[in-house]
Every structure is written in C-alpha cells, then in structure tokens.
Symmetry: D2
Subunit: 338 residues, 4 copies
Amino acid sequence: MIVVVKKNQNEKQVQNLMNWIRDLGLDVHVSRGENSTIIGLVGDTSKVDIDLVRSLDIVESVTRVQEPYKNANRKFHPEDTIVDVAGHKFGGKHFQIIAGPCSVESEKQIIEVAEAVKKAGATLLRGGAFKPRTSPYSFQGLGLDGLKLLKKAKAETGMPIVTELMSERMLDEYEDVDVIQIGARNMQNFDLLKAVGRVDKPILLKRGISATIEEWLMSAEYVMSEGNQNVILCERGIRTFEPYTRNTLDLSAIPILKERTHLPVIVDPSHASGVARLVRPLSLASVGAGADGLIIEVHNDPPHALCDGAQSLRPEQFDEVVQSVRPLLPVVHKEMDV
Amino acid sequence: MIVVVKKNQNEKQVQNLMNWIRDLGLDVHVSRGENSTIIGLVGDTSKVDIDLVRSLDIVESVTRVQEPYKNANRKFHPEDTIVDVAGHKFGGKHFQIIAGPCSVESEKQIIEVAEAVKKAGATLLRGGAFKPRTSPYSFQGLGLDGLKLLKKAKAETGMPIVTELMSERMLDEYEDVDVIQIGARNMQNFDLLKAVGRVDKPILLKRGISATIEEWLMSAEYVMSEGNQNVILCERGIRTFEPYTRNTLDLSAIPILKERTHLPVIVDPSHASGVARLVRPLSLASVGAGADGLIIEVHNDPPHALCDGAQSLRPEQFDEVVQSVRPLLPVVHKEMDV
Amino acid sequence: MIVVVKKNQNEKQVQNLMNWIRDLGLDVHVSRGENSTIIGLVGDTSKVDIDLVRSLDIVESVTRVQEPYKNANRKFHPEDTIVDVAGHKFGGKHFQIIAGPCSVESEKQIIEVAEAVKKAGATLLRGGAFKPRTSPYSFQGLGLDGLKLLKKAKAETGMPIVTELMSERMLDEYEDVDVIQIGARNMQNFDLLKAVGRVDKPILLKRGISATIEEWLMSAEYVMSEGNQNVILCERGIRTFEPYTRNTLDLSAIPILKERTHLPVIVDPSHASGVARLVRPLSLASVGAGADGLIIEVHNDPPHALCDGAQSLRPEQFDEVVQSVRPLLPVVHKEMDV
Amino acid sequence: MIVVVKKNQNEKQVQNLMNWIRDLGLDVHVSRGENSTIIGLVGDTSKVDIDLVRSLDIVESVTRVQEPYKNANRKFHPEDTIVDVAGHKFGGKHFQIIAGPCSVESEKQIIEVAEAVKKAGATLLRGGAFKPRTSPYSFQGLGLDGLKLLKKAKAETGMPIVTELMSERMLDEYEDVDVIQIGARNMQNFDLLKAVGRVDKPILLKRGISATIEEWLMSAEYVMSEGNQNVILCERGIRTFEPYTRNTLDLSAIPILKERTHLPVIVDPSHASGVARLVRPLSLASVGAGADGLIIEVHNDPPHALCDGAQSLRPEQFDEVVQSVRPLLPVVHKEMDV
C-alpha cells in the first residue's frame, strides 16, 4: 500500500500515522519529495482499513498494491479450483449447465422440468423454494415444501440440486441440497456468508447488482475464511442506467475474474436480461467470454403457459440454447459432461 | 396497471392473459386500437407481478398506475407519521440530530462522545456494536460488549440509543436498544426486515447503495406489513460513477419521499461522502431539501486522534455543524427539541 | 402513447391537454376509471414531447407505445440494412473486422500496421487523425497530416479507411475517407450529426458512454432524417460503477438492437475495456452475442514498444484474435470476406 | 505520479518505461521493494497519458498525485475567481439567480418573463434559441430569431442574457450575448470548447450527465487554456439508476469543487429533476451546499398554460423560491445584488 502525504503537513501527524502503521506489524518505507512525502507500507496490508487512511486530513491519496483477498486470490493459488458436485466439475476445462424453474411449484412441474433439462444436457437442477421478492405481497416460494419437492426430483432424476438460502435459521433444512445459492441481495449479508463458510458444500455466490468485482471477491473471501473453499461465482448483471434490460450483463467480469481468482465463474443470462429472447445470444456470448457454465431458467408449468416470453425458456427452447452452445465449446477449450 | 398488447397477437394468448388477471380478483377494461390493444387492470394490483407481465411475448409495455406499497403510501395516510423515541419526535415539524462514533470502542470513548454530542444538541446516541465490513479481516465491532457499553452510555446520559442489527439471531439482545438500524447492505435482507417488523421499536431503515426509491419503500413495506409502523428512512448516498465521493448523496430523494410517503426521512452525510469536511455543507443542504433530521459520526478516541479527516467529526466540529444548522430550521418550518 | 391522468383533476386542465394533443394532429381516446382517466394518443406520436407531458401536474404517468425513431426502426424496415463500403458489406450474414492504430503517427507506422492487419483478415483500416482527448495537454492527433497518411495507406493497401470527424468545419477534408466515425463524446452533437446526414458516405456511430439504446437510435435518426441511411452502430462500453474496466461492454445491447433496428451493429472491444488482454475474450463474446463486426486497435510503432499491455494489440496478437473468431462465425451464421 | 511495477518484470521493459518518462522531461525516483518497484514521477505530469501508463503489462497501478488541471486548480489560484457579468458578480460572497424560459417563443413571452423574474430578484435572463433535443423531430428552437428576441428583452429590461451555443459556426451571432452556455451534451465537444476559449465573454459550462468532476474541470481547462479564464460551472444532475427524477442532482459536487477550483459554481435545479415541484427544495439545498447561484426555468406563455407542472415555474412560483432562498443566504455568508 502506498500513501501519499500532502505537502507541508504537520510532522507530528505524519509520525503518528507511521507509528500507527508500525503498530499494525507493517514496515514503513518513506521517500520525501519536494511536493509530497510517499509512505510505502510493506507486509500483510489486508488488515489496513484503506478508507480510514484515505480519509486522513494529511493524506493526498492511497493506492493498494496488494489485493485485499487472499484465499480467493490467484496469485497465491495459481491453479484453477475445480469444484466437484456429485461428480460434475466446475472450473478448468469443464463446462456445466444448471437449469430449472424459477420457483418450485408442484411435484409434477419440478420433475417434468428436471427430466426435460437433463435430457437436453443440463447436469444440475435449480429451483427456488425460498424466493427473495421486492414486494412482501408477491409469492415468496413454497418454502420447506418446495425443498421437499426438489429432493424428490433429485431422487427421481439423479440430478444434484441448487437452491437459494435466505436465512441462517434454515440451514439445517439444506442437508440434502448439493449447492447452496447465495442470492444477489444477500451478497453482503455477512452473517449468512460466515454461516455457509462453515458448511461442507459448494456455494454458488451471485454478484450483487451494484457490487464491484473486488467486493464480490471479498464476499467469497468471507465464505473461504471460515473454511469452505468451494465457491462458484455467478455473474447475473449489474444495475446501470439502461432501461431496456433489467440489468446489464457484465461479461468483461469473466476474463477479469479469471486473472484475479482461481474460482470457477458461471453466468445467469436469464436474470440478467429478464427476457427469454436474450438467453440464447447471451449464453453464446458468455461462452465466448470464457465462462465455466450457465444457469438458465426453464419452466413447463401450465398455469404459466401464458408467459411464453418470460425470462424462463420452455424445454424445447432450452434444448436449442444447449445445441447452439455445444459447437462453441471446443473453440474456448471447454467440454460438457454429456 | 395498464398493459399494452402488441399488434396482431394470437387472440387466445390475449384471452389467457385476461383470464389470468381476472383470476387474481381484478377487473379488466379493454380498449382495442388499430395498432395495439390496451388492457386496464382495476382493483388491488399490488399483488400483480409486473416483471412477469412485462416479460410476456404478447406485451408491448406495462405501466403501473398504483404504487406497489400501501402502508408506506401517503395516498392512504395523508398525515405525516410522527415516530416517538423516548419523547424525541421524528417527522412533522420536528428535527432531530443523532450522533455518535462509528464503532463503540471503550466505555470512556462512548460516554465522552455521548456527553459531548448531547451538549451540542444531539438527542439520540448512535454507535456500532456489530459492524458490516467489506473484508472479513477488518474489525467487526465489539459485538455484545459494544451493546453493553452503549447501554451504559444511555444510563449515564439519558440518551436513547440507535445501533445496527445484522442478524435476526441477535434480536433478543436488542431489548434495551431504542431504535434498531437496518444497514444499507441488508436493505433487502427480507427475513431480517420481517423479523424487525414484529418488534415494538422504531426501525431506522437505510437506503441500499443501489436501491431505487420504490425498492426502498417496498423494504419499509416489508417491516410495516408485519405490524411495525414506526419506520424512519435514512438517505445515505447511492453508488454512481463519480469517484471523488464514496457515494453520491441523493437529496432529491427527500422531497420525492415527502410526496410519496408519510414516514420521516433523515440523512447521513458522514457515510454518504466518507469525508468529514463535507459533513457541514451536506448537513445544511439536507435541511434545505426538507430532511427530518441528521445522523452524524463523531469520535474523540485517542488512538484515532491521527484521523482528523476521517468521516467522523471531532466534538467541536460537530458543535459547529449543529450551530450552523440551527438558523436554517425556521426557514423550512422545523425545530429542534433542544 | 398512453397518458394516465391523476384522480380528481381540474376538468378544464384535462380538456386543455386533450385540445393540445388534437392540435398536434393526433386522435384522442379517453377511458375514465374510478381512480384515474386514461388518454390514448393515436397517430404519429414521434412529435409529442414526452418529457413535457410527463411533467404536467395533472399527469400520473406516460407510456410510449410507438418508438420515437422511424428511419432506424425495424418495424418499418424489416430487412437488415446492408452497408457497403467499397465492396465490404456490414449487416446480414456478413462479418467485417476493422483494425488499425489508435492514432496515425507516421507513414511507416500506418502502412506497416495496415499491411499486417490486412494479412490477418481485416478489411477496413482505422486510424485517428483528430483525437478527442480529455485533457487539452494530451496529444490531439496529427490532424490533416494524419488524414494524408491514412490516404497513403489506402492507396498502398487498397483498404478503405475509417476515421473520426470531430468538427463540421473539417468535413471537406474527409472526401477520400470511406467511413466517417462519430465518436462517443459527440454522439449528441446534433449539428455534427445533421452535417454527416447530408453526406453520401457510411457513418460509424459510436454509443455515448452514458447513452441509452433509445438515445443512440435517436442519434442515428438525426443522421438518417437528413437523408443518409448508411449508419453502422458501434457498441464501445458504458459508464458504470465498476473500476476494473474503463467501461462496461454492454453486449445485451446487440440482440436488443437486432430486434429494434435494421442497422448493422459492431463492437469495439479495445476501447470498452482499455486492456489488450481482454480484447480476445470480448471479441469472442461479441460474436456470440450476434455482432456484425469488430473494430480493434493494433499498433507496431517502436516508440510504443514499451506499452505491450496497452489497449492496442501487436499484429501477431491481432492475428490470434482473428484466428479464434473464425471458427465461431458459422455457429452464428456469419462469414468473413477473406 | 506514482507507478507501481509488478513483481519480477523484465528489467529492460522497466528501463524503457523510465527512459520514456525522462524523455517527457520528468525526473524519476525509484524505490525497489521485495514485492514491487515503485517509480515516482516528479515534475509537470499533466502531459503524461495516465491511461497509457496504466495499461502497460508491467504496471500494477498508477496514482496521480498532482491534478491534471492547472488553470482551474485552486492550488495555483487560491483566491476565488469573481466572474463579472455587466456588474453582476459570480463567486466569492455573491449569489446570483439566472432565470427565464426554456425556449424563447415570442417577443411577448420573453419580455413578460424577463420583467417578472427581474422583479422577483433574478439578475440575468436565460432563454434557449438553439435547443439540443434528443429527437430530430422535436422543436429545435427559434434559432437566430430567438437570439434577436433575447436581445430585445435585454434592451427592454437591461438584463444581461445567457443562451446556449451549439455550434462554432454560429459564434459570430453571439456578439451581444453576455454569457455563452455550453450544454451538458457538448461538455466534451472539444472543438467548441476551444472556440469559446478564444472569446472574451464568460462561459457557463454545464456538467455532462455522466461526467466526473475531474472530466468537467478538464473541460473548463480546455476553455481556459485558450485564454478565457471566465468560466462558471453549472451542476445539473448526473445519470444514475434512479427513475423518479430525470437526473440525480449531485450536491456533494459543490463543496468538492470549492476545494479543487477557484471557479464559481451554480446549480440548475430545473433540469436536474425535470419537475417543478422539486425546484424549491433543491434550490434551498443548493444554497446550503454552498452554491454561488441558481439558474431556474420560468415560463408564462399561454400555449403552455396547460403545463403547470413542467420543470418550469410560473412567475409567482419563482418569486416564492427567491423569497425562500433569501433568509438562507446570510447563514452561508452570501448575498444577492438586489
């Protein structure tokens, strides 16, 4: 970390700052110029509160040289982490497609969708039991009944299941869940992150809609610092000024993450755009950008037959997306299990 | 809610949509034009999932005429809600200043700061015991010990206390806390919102850094729909592209909220800017914009004496801010308790 | 256009509004409900100032049903526009790669780069003669001398040239330029747009860094409404809160534009990210998303040999990008000229 | 400027970088640490292209210590610049209100509005003759006829006039204009900025809707570097994700600008919000934040009588705003001319 001190500052305050840095166990290198004094902090600076230092009156600017994340940092773990979910691998040369309905609605629905997406090439089944909704008056999911239906679908099809956890209180109920999803709205629910960090299951960590890549990696770090190293990152769009899409899918994040971290990164094109018609082109784009997989919403539920255009695809549309993705994989040196 | 159906759509799908709307208990008014069909939904549309309707293939656009919030809506509660905290009132003609340190650090610190801010005109004491931090390696607050120190400061000075709750699990420990703060990162932690909705205490609900005003009101609605009507909103800056400030304080939000909701609205100029020098001008601007109060960080802790310029003010600087705010209050028809 | 009038409004004002609408030559359909009155505007609403109507006191909301652009609108021109540049076609099944240095610096530089990118598969040569720079103290390009060098490179290699026009005053000098580029900063320089709308040359219109897709299409409309229908749109990233990339490439914009307009759309992965390492993955992602081409910065200038990592690729890196793009094209039903 | 070089870099490239820096006339201070090498650039770094350096492969990060603007920099001009417009002063302890219609529409309109706003306390008259409109089909202003009417209003009332210039071509027609406004969309139309930099008239430079404060000051620098030091900055809202207001007024920008630059700063609350009801609270907030003045839209034109709620105030509403602003001015040590 490099701290630039303003010109003509009270020397006592500068000394106070340097003493405080040394008290944190760091070495201090000072270089005094005509217009400013530069202080280099050497050692493990991840414990230095950069905002606090930046806000000091005597400080002109602060630059972090070392990233604030360690467990998630590729510098310290150069090899790709491979997250194994019942034999299906995320990371490295592997490419996985997770698919399923937005919400679990009935036994018939979840099993029919599971069978359809499995046939098309999906290897994991997703489905919401507890649903985060902006309005308290919107459908909040089937809850524990939804979890039970997911487990039935797993028993029936052999597909591992991915579902969102919204509250630490419910963690005991997630024993048979294969991958615990932390949703975008809870990306900085630090108590929840710590709780799943103590669990022996892969965590699918969605990016918050206004989270920087660094904040997202810091949230992964919360999970990993508690012991659980099996984190899969999921880009799902960020909030911008553009109204045509619900969120703006940030595909540049994928190659950037691939440089910074060893964790696998997948993309959710359904939530990013909110429009089924965009799922196919955004899936192809995600593959081109280097993603390790996709998570796609698929429904077949008759009461929703009216919503042909929702962000969920029908099974036959999902099949088309998988078919169009397959020929791109060799170009990016990836392969699907099936 | 008004739904515009695209030209030349499959009539059966249009009928399906209208039947589905009627099944939700709403009336349907149809007006067929040359280029499009307009469907008006009449009744309580707060239960209609606007995203779902918007995403239908046959739908050109959807406009909500009625806001999706009810308890928080000024249309249904034209009078200002006055939230009473141990005799100190938020809303209407009242103006309150909440002050205190970012984190509770020691008995001496919290009591000294409490006495200083009380003397200057603050009526409530703030202080963090559980601190949400981007990094798992940053100081996370004193936790339960911090709560105890806050209660001592309350006993000593008579000031009601405001502190952040990060996890439902801790709720029992907050019995002597006067106002429970829900932080920006938890604004859409819906389980936590529901939990504090069942508590008989005022809730200080901070705006999420990328929350729209409507999403923020929907989070207030989560609290209120569980029974607790005592919600104080707190604007603390939104995330934009501008790097000079940590967040961009959105003061237009205040007059807009005053039109839309009856709830009191205060401003946190310390967190918005992240810079102590900006606290005074942004406090004055907040008063001008019509805020019902301020929440300001003040410290006096010697180990931090070096951080003169942090977002926290020293007691004498805080006193100056209060002194400069006082003469503005009559202009906006507000008054302080002391 | 649908206007929702608030409950209990002054009837005279509502009549004034309707008369004003009729004066614009539009038909008015009124539907009076219990809570609101809905006014439908039928006819060519592109001349209605939606902001003005939205801001009326009596108006609750306004929804545009018809897009405000006509010439650029796919509804009125369902077939893809094919823009032909000296036999190289943009749009439809065609895929073109434009390449060249950020700035023209010398005869040797521009000719060497031109030859190298031509060999690798680029069909048009780009190069900046007049450079828009944030600082008045930064290099502003070689100006007219730069244009001359570009023309030499064109004569030498037979490649058509693309270069930015910053001022209408310079238009006469662009006679031998094949495609006139309008940069992101000038996307709403309406006088410049009108000027190039009267020119008989293709226009490469870059998206402004904070322009919505609709505003961008309206800028294309400015050009087209003056007569020039040969507009190529170029996505080059939008401004967001994410600091790791200079801008966030909005690849969702491509399939959305493909629905809304018949104009060709290309992507500039060099400027979007500002980092050479990201050009390859973002190029592949652009192809996946359905782009009609790429515009990529390539340099070979010795004084810049130090900037291996700038947003510009070396010729051999550019060759690699083109080689990795080729196998993706059949998947998206596109083909290159060479 | 401080450049941090990555660990284990090719020494030859590091030497190339240092030689290149020295060729720019700067001194180089090198400090080699275990994990990185730090290069300090000493001298006038305003000519160093920070993006280019940042993008080098060998570079970890770059921090600018010295701001890239000189003429606009308060460090080099500690005293407030006072811009004098026919005796009305902007900056220092002065507070000016500019008012007038969005567009000049007729002689009667502009003179009536001018007389009304003058009576209420406005000292300068604004009015649009050339209007930048998103759509080519919207009213583009009366053009030269509008300029003539403005001059008539000036002759009639003695008020200096402020109006927008959209094209350098029109500059000769602005001889009798007192203040030339550069609109938000042209904030980075560098040819236009240079042109008005050679004019002997104050320039009102509006902030671009997605311009950072630094980019805005660099645009002021473009004007000033050509000789014209009389620049008045005007904050008018930035583009964010919040849909309730057209733009988000960034009032934190005012105290930040007051630290960084000596130029006067005014606020346009009419355009920022797009809603007349917000003009009063945002005007008071602007005064609280330390603005040197306001620019407010006022209309009285009968054909627009229907738009009571547009962003323009009626004269009596404008009078109310001025009356409510007056008592705040002494608190912030400002005074109006009349």
